[in-house]
Amino acid sequence: MSENLLEATGVEKHFPITKGLFKRQIGAVRAVDGIDLSIRTGETLGLVGESGSGKSTAGRLFTRILEPTAGTITFEGEDISHKSVTQMRPLRRDVQMIFQDPYSSLNPRHTVGAIISAPLQIQNIPTPNGVKKAVQDLLALVGLNPEHYNRYPHEFSGGQRQRIGIARALALRPKLIIADEPVSALDVSIQAQVVNLMEDLQREFNLTYLFIAHDLSVVRHISDRVAVMYLGKIVEVADRDDLYKNPRHPYTVALMSAVPVPDPVRRDRAQRERVLLTGDVPSPINPPSGCRFRTRCWKAQEICATEEPPLITRLDDPESHLTACHFPVVNDETVAGRRPAATPA
């Protein structure tokens, strides 16, 4: 097992809710509420979960755009959880980010050249062959025409813009790239191109990725390991094949069953069944006691409301992996609430 590049222990981010003239704090949105996660050198860790589960906040904590309320984040053994902007500066070279929205992540008033050379400028990185050459090399690297360096973002398509965002992230030759839903805003045909580009670049530059997404099939394609988040907590972490074959947490089971299968013949043959969750995700302002998933879980019992399940590997199950559940799902278990997909909903 390779060493951990980034390690998070008990990381929390609470956004205060204030009221009135004196900004009295009346509560907090617990976007990320105590997560333990490690990213190993050279791997791609997928982070999945539905909207509002805190995936993006977690990504912004790891790049230290946000400061954690509690817990520690270490990068290459160095504690970065409370470093100031100035202290973080040299570390920015090693951790970079790719953003979700290719339309708002590029400044419309800057040329592509200015956007991609900004990291070199801010970090004072010498360019032996001139800034223009460096920018053109980066453009070529991500599959764009190097002659386009003085065009503006509005002259590019969504996929091309995302490539510009990738070029900007690569400019500093980082070790870790945190990709916050990098393909969810793109057409499906473009998604594959961008994901493949990211894989090629990973091989070429020995990159480590944290790939945040809600699309399970994309995550399955690119990830080595996958972590599942629900309401600010990590509920399950496992190697990709292990997780997709033997999901242990009821939430993961439900999430997996919601992935659409494009081929109706295969869908019938596999006797695929769906788990339908009822109700909404509870508010992160006032999350349920004990296990956060218990309000929507078909296996919930009394202990789930009183005791929070730790993220552990159960010894009684040989195929188990890190799961935060009192009653993990076992193989071939009939799940209550599961019903054939063929029945019209």
Partner: protein, 335 residues
Amino acid sequence: MSLGPEASITDETTTPTADAAEERDRGEKAIAGRSLKQIAWRRLKKDKVALAGGIVVIFLIVVAILAPVLTRLWGHPIDEYHVDQIDPTLSTPLGKLGGISRHFLLGVEPTSGRDIFGRILYGAQTSLTVAFLSAFVSTAIGTIFGLAAGFLGGWVDSVISRVMDFLLAFPQLLFAIALVSVLPDTILGLGDRWSRVLVLVGVIGFFGWPYIGRIVRGQTLSLREREFVEASRSLGARSPRILFRELLPNLAAPILVYTTLIIPTNILTEAALSFLGVGIPPPNPSWGGMLSDAVAFYSIDPMYMIIPGGMIFITVLAFNLFGDGLRDALDPKAR
């Protein structure tokens, strides 16, 4: 008020041939992208009304700058009396239309017989100087405080927003009248004309900044949440870089448009203050002051009122048309 990508796409599809031709003409630079400035200029060129407004504005500025030359060529000094042009019994100008003739292009004043042409030109100097400088003051203060309020947020935002509310509710005209009567006639050794211009610029500019401040604050609030700001931060950029390199270029369009649109308001305010007698001290001319003088004569010499009134009307209209056109060119979505 950013220019969306769809704006440029429609622009490109409407003029494909012109684009191609220009692209070829540019030769070596053919692959260079068109900046938003170029797109806006292209759009503005098609807006004939705005162009006409712009031409009138430029014409007025040239006239104001060349006022001494033009007066020497076709007019008479502003404080030279021509009693021979006045009917001694009625004290109205001799001749038709307020005494318009080859020697007095816009006629003469009743009673004194001073040349209106020269006085209008010097009045343009005063009006435009006050309007431009006070617009500049408003824009500078408004941009700085609007950026600070929007970017820093928290208590800074609360304080600045309350100050803006307070200033917007303040009776500006009454304050100006009171202030002018208290201040000395000459400040900083500028002479009475330019000292009063300075006071007017200060008052109009200071009471005008909340309008721009609010717009800049709102735009900053929405821009601050855009991902390119976060991207810049994740590259290690400090706040000044984010403010001036990332945010300010995106604010340039709305700031430019609202500056153009407060200039006519400032011209009207200056005219109103001069009309009320707290503008430029006599014998120095200003359009508002001339209107005020004309009140006593409008039934017997209407031209004396029509000429400065018409000048104010044309100037304000030209600035407004130009400003509207500029807004449409820079932000097609607001139409």
